[in-house]
């Protein structure tokens, strides 16, 4: 039988160049500059030579005086090397949000809320001039997609800053660990030139160049790890000397794909998502060789069930894995246990592993006996009973294993305000959609439509993710977290309509719209192209009383739920 094949080229690592305008001449110039001039090119693989990394994963950017290079709180996927000129890093306390071009989280007054009765425009996606120009200190230039600080001398007078000069690296920790930028850095003078390296290139540079790896490793240990460990209860009683030992011996691991949202969309369409295909961080039955601390991303906690794995819970940043086993073995040396669960990567996970020997020699002796995790009982190990710890951990038992798999498979655990509908209560009246439109100038910001599992529907609405991949790559930082509830919002004044956020969002919760003026006419640029903006649910952060959709549901069928608090979800389900 004849079969039709669609033959396409297998995607290659460098199919998509970071900057198509990067030339061989640029690479030649960079190879003569430190640290690249000092790198041993023979250490790089033939498939990913140093010159290839610089050509395909890097770009040269020039910034003007006062132009922001990175902003505190933004998410970025690249690091920077200062090639020439100077940059200033704003030390704590940082610049106010207004200066940084972020929308101030303003709640409407009671009068403004009532006035929506007659002020809501008739046409959809109308923007007022004030809304598009709500920050006098900002200058957004579409072609450059840059944000400028105005009155730099005043900022230098009023804020503490430190100067960075040619040869200095910055932004590498945020890029590699997928954390928010910790400081704002802006260019000083019009001759500031930087090399921006996307995280894939940085990862390869670190892999093949020992010096760079050691440099970034050292920075990470010095600046980030101590603070992170101090936040975890079991490490809080360590003195400085003990903490230093933990920091020195800790290992880092990055699993999965940083750009998991694209892969997720593809796999979701193909329907080929499966836990067995996820990279394993720790395997059930293996010797517990260290405590795994989730630094960023998510991991699936599962247990063997039949010929597959049953998801018990998902772990997010700040969670640990393996502590109970190691603490048990430390106290009951003759009855050592192996890992009781498996830990798999969902999407992308960055972990810190504290080796067992360090835990036993340094950490566990510092913990009060009553604060240690409970011991495993023979019955629990035999699988006949569940301990209290196990019951707490097993969220799947509380909400039902099918729903647990559904949430995990579709990666809804990422949501901190996921819109969940109980279809056995929902009368399909669309009061929620109308309320959303009424609260957003007659523009509904979600669809009452989405994935269904049993009686639960997760609607296509922004979930205000714990790991907001939509924030990665926004050229102006228009999409950002709000100051109060951490909701993800779009500043319409600085959104340049590039649609990177909409493309990145794995849940398709961001729409690009063509905006109109108050008369209903489409707004256009000088070349008569329509102005587009990203729109999404803003969690009614400007309204008194919270999300209108939730308040408007007459049957209590709709809730915005933090998927990292499955106990609350279980209570709502069993209400």
């Amino acid at each position: 039988m004849d079969t039709i094949h669609f033959v396409i080229d297998k995607p290659q690592r460098w199919d998509s160049q970071f900057d198509p305008e990067m030339t061989e001449a640029d690479v030649k110039r960079l190879m003569e500059i430190r640290p690249f001039s000092e790198m041993d090119q023979s250490k790089f693989s033939k498939r990913t030579p140093l010159s290839g990394i610089l050509l395909n994963d890097a770009r040269i950017r020039r910034f003007k005086n006062g132009e922001i290079i990175v902003r505190a709180g933004d998410y970025g996927s690249s690091a920077f090397l200062l090639l020439s000129g100077h940059a200033r890093v704003v030390l704590n306390p940082g610049l106010p949000d207004k200066v940084l071009g972020r929308r101030n989280s303003k709640t409407k007054s009671l009068f403004q809320i009532v006035a929506q009765l007659w002020t809501n425009p008739r046409d959809q996606e109308v923007r007022s001039v004030e809304e598009l120009d709500d920050n006098a200190t900002l200058e957004t230039v579409s072609q450059q997609k840059g944000v400028f600080l105005q009155d730099v001398p005043r900022i230098l007078d009023e804020h503490k800053t430190a100067t960075m000069s040619a040869g200095e690296f910055f932004g590498e920790i945020a890029a590699l660990s997928r954390a928010a930028r910790t400081s704002t850095i802006f260019a000083v003078g019009d001759e500031t030139e930087l090399l921006e390296i996307r995280w894939q290139g940085l990862r390869d540079l670190m892999r093949f160049d020992l010096h760079l790896r050691q440099h970034i490793d050292r920075i990470y240990r010095e600046r980030t790890l101590a603070t992170h460990l101090r936040e975890i209860p079991i490490f809080q009683r360590l003195n400085d000397e003990q903490l230093k030992r933990v920091i020195e011996e800790a290992q880092f691991g990055t699993y999965g794909d940083y750009d998991w949202s694209g892969d997720y969309k593809r796999l979701a369409k193909e329907g080929t998502r499966s836990p067995e295909k996820e990279p394993v961080i720790a395997q059930e039955g293996d010797y517990p060789n260290g405590v795994v601390l989730i630094r960023s991303g998510f991991a699936r906690l599962s247990r063997k069930f039949g010929h597959g794995h049953r998801t018990l819970n998902y772990l997010s940043a700040g969670c640990e894995f393996g502590l109970r086993e190691i603490a048990h073995n430390w106290r009951q040396r003759t009855e050592a246990v192996s890992f009781q669960h498996s830990l798999r990567v969902i999407g992308y996970t960055h972990v810190i592993i504290v080796p067992t020997v360090v835990m036993e020699e340094v950490v566990l002796p510092s913990v009060k006996p009553e604060e240690l995790p409970e011991l495993f009982t023979p019955e629990e190990l035999a699988g006949t009973t569940d301990s209290k710890t196990q019951q707490t951990l097993d969220a799947g038992a509380k909400i039902g294993p099918e729903l647990m798999e559904f949430l995990t498979e579709n990666r809804y655990f990422n949501g901190t305000s996921t819109m969940v509908l109980d279809l056995e209560r929902c009368t399909r009246c669309d009061d929620c959609v109308r309320a959303c439109a009424a609260a957003n100038d007659n523009n509904p910001r979600f669809l009452r439509h989405g994935q269904i599992n049993g009686r639960i529907m997760v609607a296509n609405s922004c979930m205000h993710c714990a790991d907001p991949v939509c924030l990665i790559g926004c050229p102006t930082g228009a999409i950002h977290r709000g100051q109060v509830g951490g909701e993800v919002i779009v500043n319409q004044a600085t959104c340049v309509g590039c649609s990177i956020c909409a493309t990145n969002c794995p849940y398709e919760a961001i729409r690009m719209v063509e905006i109109r003026d108050k008369e209903g006419a489409f707004m256009v640029d000088k070349e008569m192209r329509p102005i587009t903006k990203a729109t999404k649910c803003g969690l009614c952060s400007d309204q008194i009383g919270g999300p209108a959709c939730e308040r408007a549901c007459p049957h209590g069928a709709l809730r915005r739920i933090d998927m990292n608090n499955l106990d609350a979800f279980a209570r709502w389900l069993n209400r």
Binding site: L110, I113, V114, Q116, L117, L423, E424, R425, C426, T427, R428, C429, D430, D431, R434, A435, A438, A439, R448, H449, I452, G454, R455, M457, C540, Q543, I544, G545, A548, E550, R551, A552, C553, P554, H555, G556, A557, R571, N574, R575
Partner: protein, 274 residues
Amino acid sequence: MKGFLRRRLLWSSLLLGASIAAVSAFVLWASTMSRAAFLTGWLLFGVMLLLTSYNWFKKIPYLPLGRSEVWLEFHLYAGVFTGVLFLLHVRGRWPTGWFELVLTLLYAVVMISGVLGIIISRGWPKRLTARGGEVPFERIPLIRRQIREQAEALALNSVAESKSATIAEFYTRRLHAFFRSPRNLLSHLVEIRLPLNSLLNDLNDLNRFLNESERKVAAKLVELVRQKDGLDYQLALQLSLRLWLFIHIPVTYSLMLWAIAHIVLVYGFSAGAR
């Protein structure tokens, strides 16, 4: 105690308390006051006004007036409370004049439509969810058209492919009307599968006249018939979930207007009466 049960108990207790208080006060005042009907009347009108305002409340969801869910619960229990007040107001007597009869009938329609509304609002979503095939109401006509086009294409192509018009004739005679528009809505509301089974039986009986390739077409048509039937089921239930409000709300406004006229007339003709 679970959330729903706790809230039902709370509201029921409030309703019971309010009803006992209203009846007790009426019994007490009826013997001492000659115009007790004015008090019950104004109280009844006031509660009805509050109940009507729920519709206005839903139109301005951005006002910080609390959850619609709580207001609906108040609406339901206060609605039942109006029944107590109504009986006290008319002193359990059937209306004598046509004006009062219309008023009573309007009240009855509002009350009955409200009770029916809450019954279907609680019951239909479970049925829709259990049946599956969730479809947004606005998309139903579009999906129906897509199914009809698929079915028509199957019937038409079968003529050329099998050199026989058996399926096409059956389609014209039996399936065309079924795919063209919503069918059997009442049967769906009362969960009767007779029309579907009858159609499927006819399709099954047709098989004896079909060759192998035609049977494959017939099997696809069976699948489309089931899809269309599921769509009609969604339409019937979702439509009824919307339609009851088209009775409840307009009749409520008629009742309020009639009640205002009643108040005017009562005051107009009761001057000096004791």
